[in-house]
């Protein structure tokens, strides 16, 4: 936790703060990092630092209703950000600030801007009005035009160290064991961790998915096909989540083969015994092939392959273990 109330990302906060203090803050910023890592939170904190001269202004920024804060994101989650929205923003950025010295534009999920929209914003990014600060957020720089990236100051937000997440959770009164597990499962994505402590369903769903996997490993083809059929009918996001949980589990198994793994090295710390058992029964090559197969299936699903077929194939590739 630091002065801007942000968990992790200390160096990024330090960097922005110092730039503001020295009057050297750049005008165009690009925050990149995986989902739920705190890009928008950091952008909002920057806006608060620039616009929040009193409590009222800070409250307005937090509600995203400050007149000098322009918040742009796709109208529907996951949909494209239309070039009209960008043109509107560019126009708004030519106007003088209403009540403070800055106008701040935050374009959340800038990678969803259409290509023509991205091109339209180029010139403004390069030479904006003196009062303007623009912040774009995106999962990584590859999803944006290189010409955009090179015009912005890049802040690459990395997953927070597991320990930092764990401490933040402990500070919020989460019990020790649980905090440690959630911190590891979050893989440093603080937003994910905070959602997980509020909603027990996240962890329960994961436990169930792992139970399913355990059953499937000893099941025959008939049961596997039945499971694939059931899973293929579920929400696509649920399917993806299932496969991602399995990936992490097999990653731990791969970690546990060969030499001894310290407990900290495992993500699924609560499954230590099972993981050791699997690591014993399978060779590294088998586990590696399985990891490949699962991530390949995720890619297939992303490309709209028939989910039932993709899952059938994947489940046939799962090794069959003797029932214990």
């Amino acid at each position: 936790m630091n002065d801007w109330d942000i968990i992790g990302h200390d160096w990024a906060v330090r960097r922005l703060r110092r730039a503001i203090e020295q009057g050297q803050l750049a005008q165009s910023h690009l925050f990149v990092g995986p989902p739920s890592i705190g890009k928008a939170t950091l952008a909002l904190a920057l806006a608060r630092a620039l616009l929040g001269h009193n409590d009222r202004a800070r409250a307005l920024v937090n509600q995203r209703r400050h007149p000098d804060l322009l918040w742009v994101e796709p109208a529907d989650a996951g949909e494209a950000l239309k070039v009209e929205q960008i043109r509107e923003l560019l126009h708004a950025l030519t106007l003088a600030p209403v009540e403070s010295r800055h106008r701040i534009a935050i374009v959340n999920d800038a990678h969803l801007i259409t290509e023509s929209g991205q091109n339209a914003i180029l010139k403004t990014l390069e030479e904006p009005n003196p009062s303007v600060v623009i912040v774009l957020t995106a999962p990584n720089t590859d999803t944006l035009l290189p010409t955009i990236v090179s015009r912005c100051q890049l802040l690459n937000l990395r997953p927070a160290p597991v320990r930092a997440v764990e401490e933040a959770l402990l500070a919020r009164g989460v019990a020790g064991e649980r905090a440690a597990l959630i911190a590891r499962l979050s893989r440093g994505r603080i937003g994910w961790a905070l959602r997980a402590i509020e909603d027990d369903a996240t962890l329960e769903a994961r436990a169930e998915r792992l139970r399913d996997l355990r059953d499937l490993l000893t099941a025959g083809r008939t049961q596997r096909f039945a499971y694939a059929e059931k899973l293929a009918r579920a929400e696509p996001s649920h399917v993806v989540q299932t496969l991602e949980d399995w990936l992490l589990l097999w990653r731990d198994v791969a970690r546990a083969t060969g030499r001894e793994a310290s407990p900290e090295a495992l993500v699924n710390a609560d499954q230590r015994d099972w993981i050791a058992q699997l690591a014993n029964a399978l060779s590294v090559a088998q586990v590696a092939a399985l990891l490949r197969a699962i991530s390949q299936t995720l890619q297939y699903l992303d490309r709209n392959v028939n989910p039932r077929l993709a899952l059938d194939v994947l489940l046939l590739k799962l090794p069959r273990l003797p029932a214990s």
């Binding site: 330090r14 290189p146 690459n156 990653r251 014993n280 590696a288 090794p319 069959r320 003797p322």
Partner: protein, 525 residues
């Protein structure tokens, strides 16, 4: 609000433009001899000086013939630099893509310049114009009035119609070489009073990949945020790059084929704030250097790979050579491919660590099917936990001197080092040794094949699940391990797994096979 450094230090004369001498000399000569074209196309990747050169050109044609120190020339130069000269019109084609915008230009082109000699239209990001807009521009571009010059600039010449291309003089801007970027950064540092280590500047330049604007932006960011001298560590922190130790640990893990070592190295680098994508990039770069070292005839003279992210020092070259020695080109190729694929996969992954770890795992694991063919390299490096070789007592097991039946000259095992070939050759002998201490265990071992030896761990393939289960029993496991330790003089562990084909075929309850049998099919294994 500070003006970005790359704007503040935008070059104002052709001589200041870095790394594009082939363009600037030609343009200078054209102005000096008065052979000025009416339409130019500047092509090049981001941040290499297209817009800058266009503005300088606009200035130079308008003050040509004037004494550059005269008040008039200075006034013009200033007006153009500040963007308030009425006759230098800069158009952002990306936000004015339509045919109407071009029509507006066409209407105004006919008017004489207000105060300068030439009207210069700079159309930036010109590839974004619509087809209709391009077509509307054609006639004007071919035969503009004598007082008009067009300069089109783009990063993407493929999107420009051939009819436009053929009407312009085309200039290709190159990526700026690393040394020139470093020199320019050094200049800026001196002018701005920024202190920076040479190594830090080199890292910045390396990362910018030929774009001066990227390099200056990064310098700007570092200068405004680090308190004192900019060090290589500051640059790494900003980029999420890791230090040489992580890369070394990963490559050594590759050589030893030790999955755990890589996982640990990756985890600790990420905990220190490195970016998984950067690590993958650094690995690709390092492996590429190794390949180049291996394939080049005179490794000492291979120039390019020596220019790695840290600029290899002499000591590192020696280390590189040692690493290159232990890896085959095929292995390196596979590794480069795995890590490049990981970079691609990270694009969509929520968790960038996983693709990195999987790439590493793929490099460590022998691909299926290759396991039977002995590779020229020692298949497996020695066990990391192997005790130092102390040839006390009876010395190497007697087996080492007895040629195994069938195998012509049996490879001899140096104490403390066991490879797959050695184990395979002495497998029968090994079973006999086990038989002497534990008969049931030996019987179980007859249903197993050695499969691989990695990092002190012997992997066995069981033909069916009985040896798989029974060999895990402490009594059997201990005697197998003890015999291994005695025979091959080390500290070993065993891992047993089922052979894949045994796992899948389950004729009793398999619906496909059942159906096949009913129709008179036969199962072949």
């Amino acid at each position: 609000m500070a003006e970005a450094l790359y704007r503040k230090w935008r070059p104002k004369t052709f001589d200041e433009v870095v790394g594009q001498e082939h363009v600037t000399t030609t343009l200078k000569n054209q102005i000096a001899t008065g052979r000025i074209g009416h339409a130019y196309l500047f092509v090049g990747s981001r941040g290499c000086g297209k817009t800058t050169s266009a503005r300088i050109f606009a200035k130079e044609v308008n003050i040509a013939g004037l004494d550059p120190d005269s008040p008039r020339a200075k006034q013009i130069a200033e007006a153009i630099a500040e963007g308030r000269a009425l006759d230098v019109i800069e158009i952002d084609a990306a936000s004015h893509t339509g045919v109407d915008d071009i029509r507006e230009i066409r209407e105004r082109v006919g008017f004489q310049p207000g105060e300068l000699r030439y009207k210069v239209y700079i159309i930036d990001e010109v590839h974004m114009l619509s087809t209709a807009a391009f077509n509307a521009l054609l006639k004007t571009l071919e035969e503009p009035p004598p007082h008009v010059i067009f300069i089109l600039a783009t990063t993407d010449p493929q999107k420009i119609p051939a009819t436009v291309l053929s009407r312009c003089q085309r200039f290709n801007f190159r990526r700026v070489p690393i040394d020139k970027i470093v020199a320019r950064l050094r200049q800026l540092c001196e002018a701005e009073g920024i202190e920076a280590d040479d190594h830090a500047l080199r890292l910045i330049a390396r990362h910018a990949a030929g774009s001066l604007r990227d390099a200056v932006s990064l310098l700007d960011q570092l200068a405004s945020s680090s308190s004192m001298r900019i060090s290589a560590a500051d640059v790494r922190e900003a980029l999420g790059a890791t230090d040489a130790a992580t890369v070394r640990a990963l490559v050594e893990g590759l050589i030893a084929r030790d999955p755990g070592a890589g996982f640990d190295a990756i985890q600790s680098a990420l905990d220190q704030g490195a970016d998984a994508r950067q690590i993958a990039r650094q690995m690709v770069e390092h492996l590429r250097a190794l390949i180049q070292l291996k394939v080049s005839r005179a490794p000492q003279q291979a120039p390019a790979p020596m220019d790695g992210i840290d600029g290899w020092s002499e000591a590192e070259r020696v280390e590189l050579a040692a690493q290159a020695e232990k890896l085959s080109v095929a292995q390196l190729k596979r590794a480069v491919r795995a890590f490049s694929e990981a970079i691609n996969e990270m694009r969509n992954a929520t968790d960038a660590q996983l693709p990195l770890e999987m790439a590493y795992l793929d490099c460590v694991v022998e691909p299926e099917g290759m396991s039977a063919t002995p590779s020229p390299q020692p298949r497996v490096a020695q066990a990391s936990r192997a005790v130092p070789q102390v040839p006390t007592g009876p010395g190497p097991a007697p087996a080492a001197t007895q040629p195994a039946p069938g195998a012509t000259p049996a490879p001899t095992a140096p104490a403390g080092e066991l490879t797959y070939e050695v184990l395979k050759a002495q497998w029968q002998q090994f079973i006999r040794e086990v038989n002497a201490v534990n008969k049931p265990a030996a019987a179980l071992l007859r249903s197993c094949d050695p499969y691989a030896v990695t990092g002190g761990v012997v992997h066995l393939h069981a033909h069916h699940d009985i040896p798989l289960i029974r060999l895990q029993e402490p009594k059997n496991k201990t005697s197998v391990i003890a015999t291994l330790n005695r025979m091959f003089n080390g500290q070993f562990d065993i891992r047993i797994s089922l052979q894949q084909r045994q796992v899948d075929l389950d004729a009793e309850e398999d619906p496909v096979l059942k159906a096949a049998k009913r129709m008179g099919g036969m199962v072949r294994r």
